[in-house]
Each structure stands twice: as C-alpha cells, then as structure tokens.
Symmetry: C2
Subunit: 398 residues, 2 copies
C-alpha cells in the first residue's frame, strides 16, 4: 500500500509559518512524542522508580527499538542495538574490526566523511600505538584506494555537506575482495535512503537517530554487527551492560551474546522513549518509496532554484544514484543567505565555507513547502547586496 | 542556614505507600522534572527545532550543569562536564592518565570497585597492547599496593555493595608521593558525601547523576579533570564536540580548551533537562549537613534492624568515617527477603550473593521512613521460613 504522505505529515508538529528543510540535522517532533516522554517521566520513573528497569522494559528497550531500526536499514533482526553517541559507536566498530583483521594497520576513509568519525579513528590509532594509521582519500578515490594494506574502510554513505551518496554495494564488495572489513556510517542514510546491510554483506554499521528518524536532540546512536561476526567481535569499550551476565557482578569481563556485547552503560531511558514515539510513524513505511519521493522533491527544488536564483551553484550530484535526501548549493555569502532564509521561516543550515543545506524528508515535507522555499530563496537572492564586494560572510556559529 | 529537610522532601514525588531506600541506585523524580522535560520536548525541540542548540542553550548545558555539580564535589568552576555514561567516562579518564604517566603500565584498583570500571580498564589495557595491566587488590590493601609501578589508581570512593568508604585524601596523597595519578569514581559519592576534589588534589574524577543527584533513568555521567591537567590531558575518545572548533569541520583533531575536550558527541538534551530540574533542589545545600543527617538515619536503621532482626548481619563498617549514604546487611536469603520488602512498599535492592542494600538520602527520607522500614523488615524476618533448609535463594534478576 503506498504511503499516505499527507497522513504522515499530520503526525508531525511543525511550527506555524515554518518550512523545515533541516531534518537532515535534527528531525522535528512527532505529535506523539510529548505524551510518550511524559509517560516515561511520571509513570515509569516517577511511579515505578527502580522497578521500571523490568516493569517498563527499560533494560530491553535498546534491543527492541534496534529491531525496528533494523528493518529500515536492511539488517537482520537482533543485529542492531541502541546506545551512546555516534562517535562512540564509530570507535567501537573500528576497534572490533581492527582486532578481527590483525595483520593490517590502515583505516581507510575519505575527506567527505563527517569529521568526528575521522577524529575518533585518529584517537583510536593513537591508543593502539604508532603502527596504526588513518588514511583519507578524496571521496571519488575510495574504491581504487582499497588495497591489501587496508584493514577496514570507514565510510559515511551520504556526505553531510554535499549529499553525495557512495555505492555501498560496490565498496563493500571491493573491500571484501581485498580482505578488508567495512564500517558504514548511516547518519544520513537511516530513514533517508533504502539501505540493505544484509544484502551488501556489510560488516559493521553505525548511525544516529536524531536526524531522519526524529528521536529528538541528543537521541541515542545505534550499532549494527553482521550476525556472522557477532560472536567474535570483541568490544573495546567493554561496559557492564555488554557483559554476559551484568547482574552477576563478576570481576572479569565476558562479552555478552551477539549484539548485546556492544552495549556499554545505562541506556538513556527518556531519549529512548522519544525515539519509540518517533518510530511509530515509520511502521510499515517502505524506504524505497520515501527516497523516490524525496528525489522528486529535490528535483523540484533544484529546478526552481536554478531558475529563480541561478547565482547559487549546485553542490549535490545530479544523478539520482548518487543522492541521499539532501540538496546543497554553494555561495560565497552562504552563511548570510541562510540567516535571511531562517528569518523568513525557511529553515535549512549552513556548513563552512560556503554550503547551504536543504533536507527533503517526505514524511513531513511536500510540494507546497518546496514551492514556498524556492519563492523565499528567490526573493532573498533578488536583493542586489549579495554581490557587493563589501558584504562579507560571517563566521558560522551552528 | 540549616537545610529544611521537610521542605526538600516536599519537592520530590514519592509514590503513596512507598518508603524509597534505593536512591543509591536510581533517585526518585523531583516534582519539577515533568514540566522541565515537557518544556525541552515541546517548546525547545518542537518549537525551536534546530535553533534550540543556541536559543535553548543545548550546546552549553553540559558545562553549565557541570558547574553546578562541581560545587557539590569540591571541584573548581569550569572543571566538570556532563555527557555519555559513567563507563565511557572511566575509559576517557584512564586513557588520559596513562598517557600522562608514560613510564608506567599498571592501573591499580580494588575488588570492591564496580565491575564496569574494571571491565572498561581491561578493555583499555587490551587496546593499548599487552604491556598494560589492571591490578586489583582487596579494598583494605589499596594504600599499601600503591608502588612505583602504578601509573594510575582507579578507585570508587564508596563501595556499591557494602557502602564502605575509602579515604580519598590519604589515597590521593600516597598516589602522588609514589608518582601515580588518581581516577576517582564518585558514583556513590556525588550528592551523598562531602567530596573535596580540589582540596585533596585529585587528578581525574567521574560519576553518574541518576543516583543521588536524581537525574532520572539513563541520566548522563560527568567527568572532572583537575585544572592543572586540563590543557595537557589528551582525550582518547576524541569526538567532534571536544574539538577546539567543532563547527569548523576540520579534518584533523585539535583538543578543545580545558574540560571541553572531554566532550565527545551530541549531548542528551532531554536527559539534561531532567537533571537541570533535579539540581534545583541541590542549590545552597551543604553536603556536610546532608551526610551528617544520612549518618543519623543510618544509625537509627542499624540500631532498629539489629534489635528487630538480629539474623541480618551488618556489611557496612560501623565507623562514620568509613561510610557513604548506604547501609547493607547480609543474609543467605537476601534476594527473597528483598522481594518481600518491595512487596510491602519498602524498596531497597539486592546484590549477589547475599547483600541487601538500603540508601539513606535525607533530602526525601526521614525518621518516620526509617521506623516504617525497620518495622516491615522485622515483621518479614519474624516469618520462620527464612531459616528452613529447603528455602533457597533465587537468582538475582535486577
């Protein structure tokens, strides 16, 4: 049954007068979220107190919600667990992968990756000792850079700046042919594009929930470990909730069964409640249909902007095969232009040095929103001031 | 001005008929928490969307709330930041300390430490390579075990099972004399006992907020770095929010200023809102007065239990100098006894193999609660079945 996008849009709270094209940064609130969080606070925490761990299912929620996300990313049931932040999950996945490929010393990534992934990899290499290193190449050179020295690739499928999408199947296949493992960062993929982790035989994947999955600010990250690795991957961040028997309080660590071992500490119960409410909207949603509609909205936006504001330069690939759910344009005055847009209620965001980002999230964005955004952007660009030499871009603050 | 404990008690929601002696595991909800969390959900997330990072102060909240906790643990302003879980913060502190003491290879801890601390240390040693090791000794042997091989001590001030309290000043002094650094785990100290991190010249400290500080299930952890180390400690978990300029999106990591570098990923905004509400109750509270009253309540409880239920064996030291805010008793049928207590509305908890734990948290527990708990425990123990040979303890599930 095709998705009723008007019905899904009605399930989100969007402030009056706002066109929200920043769901790629922080998804909006589903209308069910306040009541679900209120229940977690007053009935569960307030009423059950410590008994909430069992009675309200707090302890099993990271796995239960992991299964719901698994469906959206083509993962096997029982292979995804929630917790921590994306940066922590990157570290976990990389540390496990490196230990599983002990003859090799190189983490391969690209310069389009989100910097925190690169920083975490750098930090891990330092901790592991001097012989490990992070090698970064241009995004278009990833495939050819996978050689016999590479222990693991660490690639974000969709570029946070340009929205350019890697070919996950091709890179994974190449990595395996060369004896490397793969860590996929799905920050801009989960809830945005169809992902088939099991189908492409990905080894590890990580992602966040506060963007396309709408879990709210600071919502937890998730990690995927392919079932074929789940009993051998050794967690470097070996916390008690990843222990085989957390409540035995043994002095020695023994990894838990399967994906459980990737848990670390106490799960963020209130954030998970918000995520649970958000995932209700995703029930039964076919990611192929979501992405197809996103591409139609993106095309409409690109066409409109190139017609109304030709001084903006498209930074996103034109090919549908190379796109996520975001369109980016470049302009030297990008920061000021985005501030003007936001002041008019069209919310996207800016990434240094010159990128204007716009997310197209069909569950709550439609053609009318696109038309309004194009209109406002066109009017702003009609102001001649953008090309005056004295008009300087200010530094980015968000 | 002395604390008005009746007034602080009125600021907590405690379910009708419950005596809550488990604030050492999960603190109860302050009455202001639901409205504060609701504001974070609907007004901040729902209404401000991405703008909440600046407009609602989400980005600076981990430091702002860190300063409020700093006062409670005798830390310098600007030396504490919130985020992640306690296990992650243990890893961060240990990794930094080991790097600052590069000639040494031993982490010293004790068998009374919370197992997750030991597990995280084990995992770090594995990642660092074979030459590092975790050495654990009996709690009473810590002081004498600090020798020239020890790089860093990792000690939880108050034992999670027995409530026995270490002498933080003495251990820190000894560690420094022997050239070791110190990581203090304040999980059962922050909000429970007076801590003077600056006074004892502690190097690192970590703690959680969901116990005595009442931030709710899954509330974030905190980390302290002594100001004299803050510009040299190198974070192993080098996430983007610990970068000198997170929004410059540089490809290379440069640690942020001072404690900022111990941030990793996106802060848990909803959990932090609950913490903010909880910390309001702590404004102006003198920890010495809180702990003195806790000791009086503990003494009352010990005296009552030893009189009414002498078959329970005290596991907590009698000396006030060696106590936190918790009293533990041992009994072979401890699990079943605790289940019976909980069924009667007296909530403590059980730790394998035989420990019954009771937390005494004066902000919401008073003499009447103690008397009722003693009475209920006495009645339960009057049942002869506890001493029947066939009555077996069940396995712990929480």
């Amino acid at each position: 049954m095709p998705i009723d996008f008007a019905a899904t849009k009605a399930r989100f709270h969007l402030p009056e007068g706002v066109v929200y094209l920043d769901g790629n940064s922080l998804g909006p609130m589903v209308r069910a979220a306040p009541a679900r969080v209120e229940r977690a606070v007053t009935q569960e925490w307030g009423g059950m107190l410590i008994r909430g761990w069992n009675q309200a299912g707090w302890m099993t929620q990271p796995r239960a919600l992991g299964d719901r996300i698994a469906r959206l990313i083509g993962a096997e049931a029982g292979s995804v667990v929630l917790g921590d932040t994306l940066s922590i999950k990157v570290y976990q996945a990389l540390a496990s992968a490196l230990e599983m490929n002990p003859q090799r010393r190189v983490i391969l990534s690209d310069t389009g990756n989100f910097p925190s992934d690169l920083y975490m990899a750098e930090g891990l290499c330092r901790t592991l000792g001097g012989q490990y290193r992070l090698k970064t190449v241009a995004p278009e050179d990833v495939l050819s850079a996978i050689d016999e020295t590479v222990a693991v690739t660490m690639i974000t499928e969709v570029d946070y700046r340009t929205g350019r999408r890697h070919n996950m199947a091709e890179i994974t296949k190449r990595a395996h042919e060369m004896g490397a493992l793969t860590v996929w960062d799905l920050a801009h993929s989960a809830g945005a594009v169809p992902v088939d982790l099991a189908g492409v035989r990905a080894d590890f994947a990580v992602g966040c929930t506060y963007k396309y999955l709408n879990s709210g600010p600071g919502g937890p990250a998730f990690i995927y470990v392919a079932p074929r690795h789940a009993e051998t991957a050794r967690p470097a961040l070996s916390g008690w909730l990843g222990h085989e028997a957390p409540f035995a309080f043994d002095l020695d660590y023994r990894p838990g069964r399967g994906i459980e071992r990737m848990r670390v500490g106490t799960p963020p119960v209130l954030q998970l409640a918000a995520l649970e409410a958000a995932l209700e909207v995703w029930e039964g949603v076919d990611m192929r249909e979501v992405h197809a509609r996103s591409l139609r909205l993106q095309d409409l936006f690109i066409k409109g902007v190139e017609s109304r504001a030709p001084m903006l330069q498209l930074a996103t690939p034109r090919s549908h095969l190379m796109r996520g759910s975001q369109v980016s344009f470049r302009h030297p005055e990008g920061y000021a232009i985005m501030q003007a847009l936001i002041a008019e209620g069209v919310i996207g965001d800016f990434r240094a040095p010159d990128i204007l980002r716009f997310g197209f999230t069909p569950l709550y964005i439609d053609e009318d929103d696109v038309a309004r955004a194009v209109g406002v952007l066109g009017r702003i660009m009609d102001q001649s001031s953008w090309d005056r030499p004295g008009f300087k871009a200010r530094a980015a603050v968000t």
